[in-house]
Subunit: 249 residues, 8 copies
Amino acid sequence: MINREILNLLRRYKTGEIQEKTIIAKLKNLSFESLGFAKIDHHRAIRKGFPEVIFCEGKTSVQVAKISRKIVDNRNNLLATRATPDNYEEVKKVIPGAVYNEIGRVITYELKKQKRSSKKIIVIVSAGTSDIPIAEEAAVTAYMMGNRVEKVFDVGIAGIHRLLNYMDMLNRASVVIVVAGMEGALASVIGGLIDKPVIAVPTSVGYGASFNGIAALLGMLNSCAAGITVVNIDNGFGAGFAASLILKA
Amino acid sequence: MINREILNLLRRYKTGEIQEKTIIAKLKNLSFESLGFAKIDHHRAIRKGFPEVIFCEGKTSVQVAKISRKIVDNRNNLLATRATPDNYEEVKKVIPGAVYNEIGRVITYELKKQKRSSKKIIVIVSAGTSDIPIAEEAAVTAYMMGNRVEKVFDVGIAGIHRLLNYMDMLNRASVVIVVAGMEGALASVIGGLIDKPVIAVPTSVGYGASFNGIAALLGMLNSCAAGITVVNIDNGFGAGFAASLILKA
Amino acid sequence: MINREILNLLRRYKTGEIQEKTIIAKLKNLSFESLGFAKIDHHRAIRKGFPEVIFCEGKTSVQVAKISRKIVDNRNNLLATRATPDNYEEVKKVIPGAVYNEIGRVITYELKKQKRSSKKIIVIVSAGTSDIPIAEEAAVTAYMMGNRVEKVFDVGIAGIHRLLNYMDMLNRASVVIVVAGMEGALASVIGGLIDKPVIAVPTSVGYGASFNGIAALLGMLNSCAAGITVVNIDNGFGAGFAASLILKA
Amino acid sequence: MINREILNLLRRYKTGEIQEKTIIAKLKNLSFESLGFAKIDHHRAIRKGFPEVIFCEGKTSVQVAKISRKIVDNRNNLLATRATPDNYEEVKKVIPGAVYNEIGRVITYELKKQKRSSKKIIVIVSAGTSDIPIAEEAAVTAYMMGNRVEKVFDVGIAGIHRLLNYMDMLNRASVVIVVAGMEGALASVIGGLIDKPVIAVPTSVGYGASFNGIAALLGMLNSCAAGITVVNIDNGFGAGFAASLILKA
Amino acid sequence: MINREILNLLRRYKTGEIQEKTIIAKLKNLSFESLGFAKIDHHRAIRKGFPEVIFCEGKTSVQVAKISRKIVDNRNNLLATRATPDNYEEVKKVIPGAVYNEIGRVITYELKKQKRSSKKIIVIVSAGTSDIPIAEEAAVTAYMMGNRVEKVFDVGIAGIHRLLNYMDMLNRASVVIVVAGMEGALASVIGGLIDKPVIAVPTSVGYGASFNGIAALLGMLNSCAAGITVVNIDNGFGAGFAASLILKA
Amino acid sequence: MINREILNLLRRYKTGEIQEKTIIAKLKNLSFESLGFAKIDHHRAIRKGFPEVIFCEGKTSVQVAKISRKIVDNRNNLLATRATPDNYEEVKKVIPGAVYNEIGRVITYELKKQKRSSKKIIVIVSAGTSDIPIAEEAAVTAYMMGNRVEKVFDVGIAGIHRLLNYMDMLNRASVVIVVAGMEGALASVIGGLIDKPVIAVPTSVGYGASFNGIAALLGMLNSCAAGITVVNIDNGFGAGFAASLILKA
Amino acid sequence: MINREILNLLRRYKTGEIQEKTIIAKLKNLSFESLGFAKIDHHRAIRKGFPEVIFCEGKTSVQVAKISRKIVDNRNNLLATRATPDNYEEVKKVIPGAVYNEIGRVITYELKKQKRSSKKIIVIVSAGTSDIPIAEEAAVTAYMMGNRVEKVFDVGIAGIHRLLNYMDMLNRASVVIVVAGMEGALASVIGGLIDKPVIAVPTSVGYGASFNGIAALLGMLNSCAAGITVVNIDNGFGAGFAASLILKA
Amino acid sequence: MINREILNLLRRYKTGEIQEKTIIAKLKNLSFESLGFAKIDHHRAIRKGFPEVIFCEGKTSVQVAKISRKIVDNRNNLLATRATPDNYEEVKKVIPGAVYNEIGRVITYELKKQKRSSKKIIVIVSAGTSDIPIAEEAAVTAYMMGNRVEKVFDVGIAGIHRLLNYMDMLNRASVVIVVAGMEGALASVIGGLIDKPVIAVPTSVGYGASFNGIAALLGMLNSCAAGITVVNIDNGFGAGFAASLILKA
């Protein structure tokens, strides 16, 4: 499409139909999309396998369903985060095969089953039962990006032996996502035990001076264990997405 | 002394020297110190063994030395916190036997060696080398309050096996003081491992978003391990003092 | 239980049923629970008398009832905090003898009456009527941990003589829990009057610049009275739990 | 002066020297100072007794001395706050009778001794030795505004009986200024004991989570004792000034 | 009442019915209320004219009504702040003459009309229409404390000439209460115009970065106009109360 | 009107009906409105074209309708921001021609179509779909102030080529308003691309550590691109108003 | 330069020297600088009159001098902000005609005197003497951008009549920059008095709870006067720059 | 080593030298290091190639040199961050071949040149000249971990075309580290342009409301571009370390 537009100009220039001055002006006026950003956009190709993502918060169920249908019509996989049961009801009407993960509040639809590496595993660890929704969001995101995912939920550091029982799995992981609220110390403990990239997700779970996740966020940013990086509070999607990029790095 | 004053009044009343109205007025005018607060102050007796404490920050070396001398003259043990080497030079002139703990920045003088319980131990754990000054302040404070103190320094959670090697000592402790900066997660880990009162001291050690100890403070307040209580940032003295009160509880 | 598993291995090794190499591998593969953490976990024995605790917030009534039943079936006492009347209705169906403290929002069930020390008392002081729910939570927690508890409610410092009338009770206490919102100054006042460990609980009670308990929290952390330690905002359970650990210290 | 200008206009108008249009225009163009603000400025008269104030921070000693000299030349009393010894040296050169309060860092010069009410007393209470500089600043300010001032220093609430010994003085006060750092609870305690306006001055004295006076500021704003008003952190001058206005109210 | 108890003791001592030792012990055991705090409590007398205050927030309508009735039965005036219409309905049942100020959300009942000074006026100025409820709370409080009150509402600084039109009233005031949200600059402007004590009440009115009153609070604390003191956000009652104390200073 | 009052005085003075002293007093007592502030208020003339603005939040629908009617009766254009559908229903009853912008939550009524400059354009750019309501508020405000407005919505920097396609429009703009939540980086990017005044509006759109717009606000204040100024969070009206003033500068 | 490169390609294509495929690939590979951003960069032309700016903080004097020399060699005017006297000494060596504004800490060099509009004035108002350095920075910046600048310093709102005396100048201004620390209320007052764009610069001047300019920043963002926009704390340069852009809008 | 100890026990048990009870007790008493943590520690092997790291801040030059020597003696590469020139002088005495990166403040010593992948590149982008020290710290860290590193410094978004010129390099990267202060928007822009993991490092560079890096930190956490993870303010080392782990993931 882009090429055709340029080609057209070039040919008309060659035939003398347009002047040097004109073609230069026109080349410069081509929108960035059509010309300049070819360079930028060709990374889109890499993204091919990736689902298109809808952030449902602040959208009506009808809007969510409409965008979902369009994505699937474009032969893309669908990932809709922060979806309510009501959003799902509406999506199901237009994409009967859509699946709803109630805990992680995610709607997904996979056009055709992706082949997943049997070697590169993303392990997702969560500290408390209240952190599970965010951990699930991360898990479904990573899974929809074509990765193998394993989950270890409810292994907070207040009973550290439970965590230590999972050392084998943690050592097998390529990337570990740690989801924790309150003081968020689980990320430090895991970061100190393994030699893998750890993505820490602070959650807004907590009371009093947890300040809706700030305590966990600060705890994770200040971790004494090197190699930990942090995403925004409750941003399970972001962690799953970043972990997927890492496996492709 | 108090009694004598009241007695005097009562006798003069009995002999008719003063009237009902007069004695009632006089009783009411007795200062709180002399009358009403006997009740409050008799807990002072309990404090007997405790040293008198000077907080040196914001005082001149001469002032520190003068107050120190007065304390010792009153037959009290001396504990001067946040003391500079210069403070110590001045104190040594008037109390030659005074001892300076350079790391913990504490000057002490014990009139006569206190007998320390061989059973009740206060264990002080610190996370990093930079937390040691505060840990030392806590240790010296607890020691001067008549307690047996054991120290485990530099056992941060980034290498948790080092900590686990000290489980026996932690289990023998009556109270554990945990001194940690950065994310302060050590308190949670220890609180999850033992069934003893844990006093957490956040330190101002850290960089960037540690905000001079706020990250550690929030981490400790929001600990998922029950039984942890917290003192102010860098307040090693407060932790040592509170631990001593606990052993007398 | 643990011993049996190891014993079994050892005997099979002794009889030559398994090889040296095998037994070493197996010993190393024993989960931390079964082997390594014996050391850690044997503190569980101490906890024996302690109830199992459920934090009800974020759980459905059915979930709360189910966990409660399981706890009681395991011959443990029950303590469910932040419980709604609705939670209680459901619990009562499966544990008819369960008791609900409406003010403190706590459900309890004691399998058999614990014997309480007549000497070691935990005194719980609260500043205003709005602080009472948190104070009750602390009181029920401490009681369920097997302690004698006395309560002094509504003795804020704006009428300090009311507080002073309770000096005797405060002096009889082994530990004092002070529950206060607004500026939280009650903790400092009590900390200055007695020689006992004081656990301060800031509450989210207040208006304007109280910032849901931050003013009280900062006030308590910065108390000029030594020996005060602090728990998280509104964390009555944590204070009751810590006080219980102190009495066992 | 103002009147003369208007008078002049009016007379020239009456004589026909200037037209209606002209005088109206001229009246409107009179600067606010000369016309409109007579109404506003005549409160200056009330201020007569008040000294002129210099805030020395950020001024050179020469500047301070120069302004000081000008104030005295205008027959005003002088009050220079946050003054360094160096500032004073320079001022003394041009106003030999100037007095320096080293603790409160205030330079003063009273042209002639003011008569002070023997009945209306401003009592200034401070919590700790480190609060004294701010308390002194308040005291000197109030004194220079023509008030009788009494000081009660170092009566923190960690030993509340010391404070109670001063009940008589507090009850005699017309206004009480309470200067306190750390948790600032002294303001609440005094506010609960007396029926007088209490002006609370939080100081930046404290450690760790006192955040340079924020803890004290919040504590005072959230005081459970009614009738307390607050000035900025370390603003002893503001408190002394406000107390003086109150005595004139 | 107190006297009688002491008298009784003294007489029994004089008659020899009780011994010296006994009477001294008994005197010391008298509650602070009955003995020691006579000194403290006799300021109650001054408060005589003051109404008893109920803070309705967090109380049921039945509780509010019950406490209100008791206050009136004790021959005290009633002031109930933060009262809902529902609270009022219930109070009216037991105190038919009670009055409800719907805007200020205050219930009042005056046993007998107080005589108000015709000279000492408290002027209450508010910046915007949304600040009026807090201004009304301050006004009713000051009125019920026996003061003459004048109100100037809706004179924000965005149209400063409206404010300047009220200079006369401001100059007649003994105390001015300024109620303002958003940036709270009205307090500074008024503080710069008059020589009277100004009590500033920040309100939680505002959007975005007003942070529920913090912007106004900081603005008022940092006012460049001397003589301003500040109460907590939305604390109209506190301002009215403090202004009343000032008029009695 | 003002002139007449002064004129009257002058004439009565000229005729001798009133004395010098009287006229001077009377001149000084003229309200600021009538005399002194002519100077201030004559800028009102400039404002002529501007609509009168109602901020609906915190007002009842009846109040909004009543004020709206009054504005229109005074022959002014109407702009009511933060209006609910309910507000609009009520306004329509009294101003049938009033228009409601549902997305921007603004009610407008233009008495007669204003002529808009075809050269000076205000371009409004928004980053995400959730920022559109605030962008619309800015757009309608600027439009009602008599400006030509163009809108470019949904061009966040996560796909910067979309933005670059609008370079022509941005270069044609006289002022650009950038509306963005989350990290607010769009303002910096646009500020770096063009040489026009950029007004940045942070929105409260975001999650976790966006803190209801603080992240965007700080991002915009700290922009590395010079020439950006910032209004309050979600303050679309303020941005539209400021942009209008700029076009008249 | 750019044109030549494209021209070359086109001509070689026309002559058949390069193929369609080749020229398209080459066109796409042209760096953004050479092709795509012609569109973006041609706004540089507008900037012609503008000086090049150096932010001196964090640069050595030698570095500052070197960059300065290069700027002047390129026939640009020079504006170096946050310059120390030492920076100036070094610059003077290489640009003898460079001028240093000591108060505003700015070094400037104007190649040839710019012609300044006699109609469009930028008025810069500052509240206190300590705000003057930032006000000077804004003034010099605006002046070097080719504008006429007038300054009104030291007209804080604590004596509002001084400000009102400058109404004429404010009304003559095209843009007003208000520089104020402490509570920053001056911006609101001026914003309420005039109908011109107001750029508010909060300064870090203040004490206690001014928090290095946060109080002023919040005050300005929350101003009740519409039309005010805000730049970063102490960012006089940014305000001067934005004001210049406005005059060109 | 571990095996031998266990083996020994087992054999003595088999021969009957020790009893069942004894061997079980002894097995349980093996330190975690010797037994349980074999599992944990064997990840050390992976770390082999990694240098040992010293954080120099808070250590004396002599301490730094001593630890450095020990590391090199253990045949490890050396990486000492936050090193002063003075630290380096001392290290050079004991490790003559040590190299000092003055800008990044890092001392390194590589025992033998590591072979670096020619395919996997870590690209480090920094926004402004003041961010370079942190960017260098990240670069040296990543290099010492055995990676190929490319640097693009000074490509802030205020001139976005400079950045776009580096699209090729960014697209070739396996991981991109973005180092930026002020509003930190560069991370968002780059995250929107490429499909690689982006590690964002906020720096404390900035003025006014940048709050020593908080503005940049919040900006990065709230980035609208997915796939960005964040490390602590100024933590170049952490970013370099995390990037290295990613390349090994």
